[in-house]
């Protein structure tokens, strides 16, 4: 009985509490639209302060001058029901502390600083993404480029901010961007060895395959290419306009013809039915608008660069440039085992042999590879990320630069070529039914299952037999073996682990024998005669 009474009291209190909370929440919801910043700020402050007073109590206490200092917004609001920013304040809000402009800005908006940065499009030596994109902020004194190939360097004034979420500097290119005019001086050991003028450049996308990397076009060729692209686009738009006109005319004619046929009941003669106009095809290329930058192409070494205008060095434009060359070059393989086609692995140099478990089917891609210093290669495209590559100065990494499609793969046994394989497309087909499974089959466009699809992978299909003495290697169009392409293949023996552990004990057996032998040879001590 007592418990039931207490329960009723608790329910009443709960309902009262909910009603009160609903009143406050409802009031906040009314205010919120249009002044979310002020309302949220005030609500947040109340929460932080641990204010549990009712709205009415809040007003009373404010009249007692208990508002936090340094906030004039509340008092101005109490006079006109308007906040400093001009937004309408709720009755209970007018005496609450209002956030300052700084507070309204919040911690999520980083501070921007106008800086002279070098915008970079460094050549990356890779076929898929030949040019990277980064910039050298004021805080970075050194940047890297790859040797003996042009990269784009452009001094620009922009607003830079640090984005702590991804731990990198970012440039607000669209907010503020101003090209810095002048020439680029390249110095080595304090002497100017090159002075560069800006050149026009553009990127050309498309052609036969949109997935291919863009081509960099520089100088007058860039302007011509852009002009040609524009002309092609103009011609396309004109052709489209004409197509719509023609189509409209054709449509009207056809409507008349159909009406006539419906009225007369006589079918139209074939020569009366004109062919529908064909829609013109858009240009298969896209060319970016030419812009200007310095084209830097240097041999490996350490340099200093600076921008010079009217004989004077532009402030903050001096940087150290390190141009790196690969340590080694070779032929790399990307190997897709048929048993795990989603888990490819690489063999970067000759020391990395291929080990197989029994007879295996492998799909192999062949690449030209270069070995670069890991730190330099990471910083090449990530100068704006202060921590990128730190601590890897002494490490090296292979970079697969270009897939070799002009070669054949040979399977060799004891020096004799037993199979020569060409590169072909393959398609991964799921096996029917609910159970997981797949088959890798040669890609055939005519196959109804593959119509409209693209090959899943391209490569050389090698069936490695079980046994010893196998190698793979690559030959060029003339039949010359590419020396760095040779890889031994070993099919490992499938035996249990205990054989090895058993063999491990052989030193103990030898030691035991030696110890025993010594015991038998050394004469036993006899007790001295008394």
């Amino acid at each position: 009985m007592v418990m039931r009474t207490e329960g009723k009291v608790m329910v009443r209190r709960l309902l009262l509490g909910l009603l009160l909370a609903g009143t406050v929440a409802g009031a906040q919801l009314v205010v919120a639209p249009g002044q979310s910043g002020a309302a949220t700020g005030a609500a947040d402050q109340a929460t932080v302060a641990g204010d549990t007073q009712s709205p009415a109590e809040g007003t009373q206490s404010s009249s007692n001058g208990t508002q936090p200092a340094g906030n004039g917004n509340a008092s101005s609001g109490s006079e006109s029901n308007k906040s400093a920013s001009g937004s309408t304040l709720a009755p209970w809000e007018k005496d609450m502390p209002q956030p300052t402009e700084e507070e309204l800005k919040g911690e999520g908006v980083p501070e921007k600083e106008k800086q002279l940065v070098y915008s970079l499009s460094p050549w990356t030596a890779t076929e898929k993404e030949p040019y990277g994109g980064t910039f050298v902020p004021k805080s970075e004194s050194t940047f890297f480029l790859l040797a003996d190939h042009p990269s784009l360097v452009n001094p620009v004034r922009t607003e830079v901010y640090y984005w702590p979420i991804t731990k990198e500097y970012m440039a607000d290119w669209f907010g503020f961007r101003e090209d810095v005019p002048g020439k680029l001086e390249i110095l080595q050991n304090g002497k100017v060895i090159k002075t560069l003028e800006k050149v026009k450049y553009t990127y050309k996308y498309g052609g036969e395959d949109w997935s291919q990397a863009p081509t960099l076009i520089v100088g007058e060729e860039a302007v011509k290419e852009y002009q040609a692209y524009n002309d092609a686009m103009d011609a396309y738009y004109k052709a489209m306009t004409k197509y719509y006109e023609d189509y409209d005319a054709w449509n009207k004619y056809m409507e008349k013809l159909i009406k006539r046929v419906q009225q007369t009941g006589k079918p139209a003669k074939p020569e009366e039915i004109p062919e529908a106009p064909k829609q013109p095809e858009p240009p298969k290329i896209y060319v970016t608008e030419p812009t200007e930058a310095f084209l830097v192409n240097l041999p490996a070494g350490e340099y200093e660069i600076r921008t010079v205008k009217d004989g004077k060095v532009v402030p903050d434009s001096e940087k150290k440039l390190v141009v790196v060359a690969p340590r080694r070059q070779g032929i790399g393989y990307v190997v897709v085992p048929e048993s795990k086609w989603t888990r490819p692995f690489t063999s970067d140099d000759r020391s990395q042999l291929l080990y197989t478990w029994g007879s295996r089917t492998l799909y192999i891609g062949v690449f030209d590879s270069l070995e670069y210093n890991r730190y330099a290669y990471t910083r090449l495209t990530q100068v704006h990320v202060p921590l990128a590559g730190k601590g890897t100065e002494t490490q090296w990494q292979w970079v697969q630069t270009k897939e070799r499609t002009d070669v054949r793969l040979q399977l060799v046994k004891n020096g004799d070529v037993i199979q020569e394989i060409v590169r072909q497309p393959f398609y991964v087909k799921q096996t029917p039914g609910y159970a997981l499974g797949y088959q890798i089959v040669p890609f055939d466009e005519k196959d109804p299952e593959m119509q409209g699809q693209k090959p899943t992978l391209w490569g050389f299909r090698v069936v490695v037999p079980e046994g010893e003495g196998y190698q793979i290697r690559v030959v060029d169009a003339k039949g010359n073996v590419l020396p760095e392409s040779v890889r031994d293949i070993r099919s490992v023996a499938q035996q249990g682990p205990w054989a090895l552990y058993a063999v491990s004990a052989f030193p103990l057996v030898v030691g035991g024998l030696i110890y025993g032998l010594r015991r038998t040879r050394v004469p036993r001590r006899k007790p001295l005669p008394v």
């Binding site: 692995f345 063999v503 004990a505």
Partner: protein
């Protein structure tokens, strides 16, 4: 007999006596067995990975187990040399020896040569073991294994020299063994930590880990000249990448390291004396 002849004679006697004692003891066989069990574990791991993936590309899978086996063996020898010298000092044997025709040079060289001869026995066993493993796993017994064994001889010389050096600068056997274990544990821990950190891509590392990686990289530039493990690693990398110049550089560096430490050991023996 000239002074040099006396010295060489004393060196030969010390080395011979110690060699017999070590080879006829059971210690090195136990150590070799432990090393080979660890190597077998490594080889089995490689076999398992290959069986799971169907195929893998890597340098000879025997190189890493061999690396572990030879380093463990050289650690044992280093520890042994550090322990025996300190113990002989503790027990006063060293003082007695030095009253005879034995000086610092002949004593240090005798100890050193004895340990290197024992390492020769280790190499012989390693050769047999890994040849057999190569045969039963079909990993192939490549020349790389011979090269790594060759460089391991020089690295073992460095470890032994390190052990002798520690015993020459400490007064008690306990201190020298403690220091040896401490240094080697640090070198191994550093090597393992550094290699692990380098294998993690940038994107998966927090800022703190990147700073740690940078700090380790700077530290490594010093440690690579102090830690015998780094000499062995350089040699192994040179072998794996078939770099002849790298291989001979690693041999020369570990040789120089050993010579410097032995010379320092003789210097400290002369300076501190042999009394306990």
């Amino acid at each position: 007999m000239s002074a040099t002849s006396y010295r060489l004679h004393a060196t030969r006697l010390i080395a011979g006596r110690e060699l017999r004692s070590t080879v006829f003891g059971i210690g090195i066989y136990i150590v070799m067995t432990i090393a080979f069990v660890l190597a077998s574990y490594g080889v089995n791991s490689f076999l398992y990975n290959i069986s799971q993936n169907g195929a893998l590309a890597m340098p000879s899978p025997l190189l890493l187990p061999l690396f572990v086996a030879v380093f463990l063996s050289s650690l044992y020898l280093g520890l042994l040399s550090s322990l025996t010298i300190s113990r002989e000092r503790d027990q006063g044997t060293l003082e007695v020896l030095f009253y005879g025709p034995v000086d610092s040079f002949s004593y240090v060289m005798g100890k050193f040569i004895e340990q290197m001869l024992v390492f020769g026995v280790f190499i012989l066993f390693n050769l047999v073991f890994f040849a057999f493993v190569a045969l039963i796993t079909n990993f192939g017994f490549s020349l790389d294994i011979i090269w790594l064994l060759l460089i391991s001889f020089f690295v073992a010389a460095s470890v032994v020299a390190f052990g002798i050096f520690l015993s020459s600068i400490t007064k008690s056997s306990r201190a020298s063994v403690f220091l040896f274990i401490l240094f080697m544990a640090f070198f191994i821990g550093f090597f393992w930590g550094y290699s692990t950190l380098m294998g993690i891509p940038d994107k998966e590392l927090s800022a703190g880990m990147i700073y740690l990686r940078q700090a380790l990289d700077y530290l490594r530039r010093v440690i690579e000249w102090v830690s015998p493990l780094e000499y062995l690693n350089r040699g192994a990398l040179a072998v794996a990448s078939s770099s002849v110049s790298g291989f001979f550089a690693a041999v020369g560096e570990s040789l120089a390291y050993g010579v410097v430490l032995l010379a320092a050991s003789i210097f400290f023996f002369n300076r501190k004396g042999v009394k306990k």
